[in-house]
């Protein structure tokens, strides 16, 4: 079967599953600004892989490299064993059609209604299907994310959480084997964020979709992640199962996970101390 027989590994996260995405020595810089510096990571088939890290650490750039949107300055990205950026454009397109991408702000096409947005990838990929059937598929995808009742609304009339869910519906429109999520819970209230997490988990379980999720929401990362990588300043700091990352010895990893301020910033300047030293004299 197309995807339902791609059984989710019995114990995802052990690392002994077949690798789907391999990132090798990927480095990227924009001008003098080094964004990624020698990234190595592997995403196994069928697992939910979470990339966490502070804002501006290169998470989104890495996701764009993995999904074939942006060529890294150096290094190799392989999907299913094929080096993504060595493929001719048409083969890259056919791989892209087997992947879904849920953008941070939804990236829904504003000129179309929600259902037209979800129907668009299928209408383009399978022009021989009847319009009714394509709409039926789109309705089913919207039902999966709980947006069926809002199908005729314009994207601009949707709330933040609804936009995210519509974006997910569009990302899974072509029954992808691999879905990338850029900040699925950013800007959402905790309950809506939990509902989005739940949706991601359910899609992964039932369809066996491999998912790569970029987030800075620690709670969400530990809820959904089978394995995770912690990025700091363009480097992988911790890589492995959530338990391993949680017990990582590095102080910066612990600070990030426990939302502690870096030590030098955490301590406030003691004004009397400052005055005592005669700095203002």
């Amino acid at each position: 079967m197309r995807f339902l027989h791609r059984e989710r590994p019995a114990d995802p996260g052990t690392g002994d599953v077949e690798a789907l995405i391999e990132v090798e020595r990927v480095s990227t810089s924009f001008g003098d600004n080094v964004v990624l510096d020698g990234i190595d990571m592997t995403v196994g088939r069928g697992e939910i892989f979470v990339i966490i890290g502070p804002s501006g650490c290169g998470k989104t750039t890495l996701l764009r490299h993995m999904s074939g949107m942006l060529r890294p300055s150096s290094g190799v990205v392989r999907i299913g064993g094929e080096s993504l950026y060595d493929l001719p454009e048409d083969e890259l397109d056919s791989i892209r059609r087997r992947m879904g991408f849920s953008f941070q702000h939804g990236a829904l096409l504003n000129s179309m209604s929600v259902i037209e947005n979800v129907a668009l990838p299928l209408a383009e990929a399978a022009p021989h299907l009847s319009r009714d059937l394509i709409v039926e598929v789109a309705q089913m995808k919207l039902e999966m994310v709980g947006l069926l009742d809002a199908k005729d609304r314009a994207p601009s009339d949707l709330s933040g959480g609804m936009k995210k869910r519509a974006a997910i519906a569009r990302a899974i429109a072509l029954d992808p084997e691999l879905v990338f999520f850029d900040e699925p819970s950013a800007g959402l209230d905790p309950i809506t964020a939990a509902a989005v997490d739940n949706l991601i988990l359910k899609l992964a379980r039932i369809f066996g979709i491999t998912m790569v999720v970029v987030t800075h929401d620690i709670a969400s990362a530990f809820t959904i992640g089978d394995r995770m990588a912690l990025l700091f300043d363009g480097r992988v700091f911790a890589h492995g199962r959530p338990e391993d990352v949680q017990q990582h010895p590095d102080a910066r990893v612990q600070d990030f996970i426990h939302r502690a301020l870096p030590r030098d910033e955490a301590r406030s300047v003691d004004i009397t101390d400052y005055l005592a030293k005669g700095a203002l004299r």
Partner: protein, 419 residues
């Protein structure tokens, strides 16, 4: 074999799929499933009930459609056609045999939902046979009843309704801009008493934006139009050996009609669109709400300065247009027609009447007010995000030009009847 859904299917399914998870997370998911039953993420019971009801009907004639091994978007269309034909032929029961299916996708599942909906509509029974665990898993993500019952086909619009849908937006623009115009005039006139201060500096800035910056383009177009007018007039007048009257022709047509009209169209294209886009963007970014919240009246702060500015700037630009166009005409007359410059100027002076010039400038001022009120009204009523701003901008230009032409026609009739 009719569909048999094991009683504990939902629980068992989740328990087996979540082997690696702790028992607690399984419970959480169960709770979520129950809680979401209403909103329609997952619902087994409706599915079961539906199938039970469907299979309990008496079967008169039936047809079985066997689905091949591969049941996905590449192979689904012929099956869809066969299903449609089977339902259309009026079989009391259609059996869909899924037992051979080894591979399927969402399109295939959508076909099944479509068949169930069609069956419900026509009163046909649809039985699903040989349904496999993965297919059931798939349907655990959706509520089939919700899909079938909530999605009613779109209502076709009647003839009158369609005309109304086409005409109403135009009427709405007319209504909104006249309401806004009245409010702006009230704010301007009653301002000293209601505290809605007139913003002089903002108005000056708007005049400079809409007026001074438009001077180069207005001059260029005026000059070229003057040349064209003079040439067209000359081509006709030389038949009667009346070349000298090129000067009259240019002076009268420019001051009465072409000057105010062309200037207004240019202002509509330049400033009308800019006003709609600027105010529309402010509405989208909640800036207008912020003004209101701070106790600043958007009409007094945004709309009045723009209206006053355009009401002043358009006649000023028209004066410029008139002068440059007559210069262009004179250049053509002197160089090509070889009229004596002194004679050309004299004819021009003789044919120009203060009433013509004044009526032209009055018209220009009215046009400017129209452009500003239409632009502001469309900007303030923007709906639908950035896309809406684009729409409002286009409509502002089109509606302004339309209003300009309509009002010009009214002026022509009124002024001719009056004189």
């Amino acid at each position: 074999m009719a569909i048999r859904v094991p009683a504990a299917c939902g629980l068992r399914f989740f328990a087996s799929a979540s082997r690696s998870r702790s028992w607690r997370s399984v419970c959480e998911i169960r709770t979520h499933v129950d809680a979401c039953g209403e909103s329609g993420f997952v619902s087994f019971p409706p599915l079961c009930r539906w199938f039970h009801r469907a299979s309990s009907f008496a079967i008169v004639t039936s047809v079985t459609i066997e689905i091949p091994e591969r049941f996905d978007r590449d192979t689904v269309q012929p099956i869809a056609d066969r299903l449609d034909a089977a339902v259309a032929r009026g079989h009391a029961a259609v059996r869909i045999d899924l037992s051979a299916v080894r591979e399927f996708d969402s399109t295939a599942m959508a076909l099944i939902v479509a068949a169930l909906r069609e069956a419900k509509r026509t009163g046909t029974t649809v039985e699903l046979e040989g349904i496999s665990e993965p297919v059931l898993d798939y349907f655990s993500l959706v509520s089939v009843r919700h899909l079938i019952e909530e999605c009613k086909p779109e209502r076709q619009l009647g003839f009158v309704e369609r005309i109304g849908r086409g005409v109403m937006p135009t009427l709405h623009v007319a209504r909104d801009s006249s309401v806004l115009l009245v409010r702006a005039i009230r704010s301007l006139v009653l301002g000293p008493w209601t505290g809605e201060r007139f913003r002089v500096s903002r108005t000056i800035a708007e005049v400079s934006e809409a007026g001074s910056s438009a001077m180069p383009i207005v001059s260029l177009i005026a000059f070229l139009l003057g040349l064209i007018l003079a040439m067209q007039a000359w081509l006709q007048l030389r038949i009667f050996a009346a070349e000298l009257f090129v000067a009259d022709m240019v002076a009268v047509s420019v001051t009465r009609e072409i000057g105010p009209l062309m200037t207004a169209i240019l202002v509509a294209a330049r400033s009308g669109s800019a006003i709609a886009a600027q105010i529309g963007t402010m509405v989208i970014n909640e800036e207008v709400d912020a003004l209101e919240q701070m106790g600043i009246k958007p009409v007094a702060w945004l709309v009045v300065p723009k209206m006053v500015a355009l009401a002043l700037a358009t006649p000023c630009l028209t004066v410029l247009f008139d002068a440059v166009a007559m210069t262009g005409g004179m250049l053509f007359g002197v160089s090509v027609v070889e009229i004596n410059p002194g004679a050309y100027l004299e004819r021009t002076q003789e044919s120009l009447k203060l009433a013509d010039l004044a009526s032209g400038l009055f018209k220009a001022s009215v046009f400017g007010t129209l452009i500003a009120s239409i632009g502001c009204a469309l900007g303030l009523n923007v709906e639908g995000g950035p896309e809406g701003v684009g729409r409002a901008t286009t409509r502002a230009v089109v509606a302004s030009i339309f209003a300009i032409i309509v009002f010009d026609a009214i002026f022509v009739i009124v002024l001719r009847v009056g004189s």
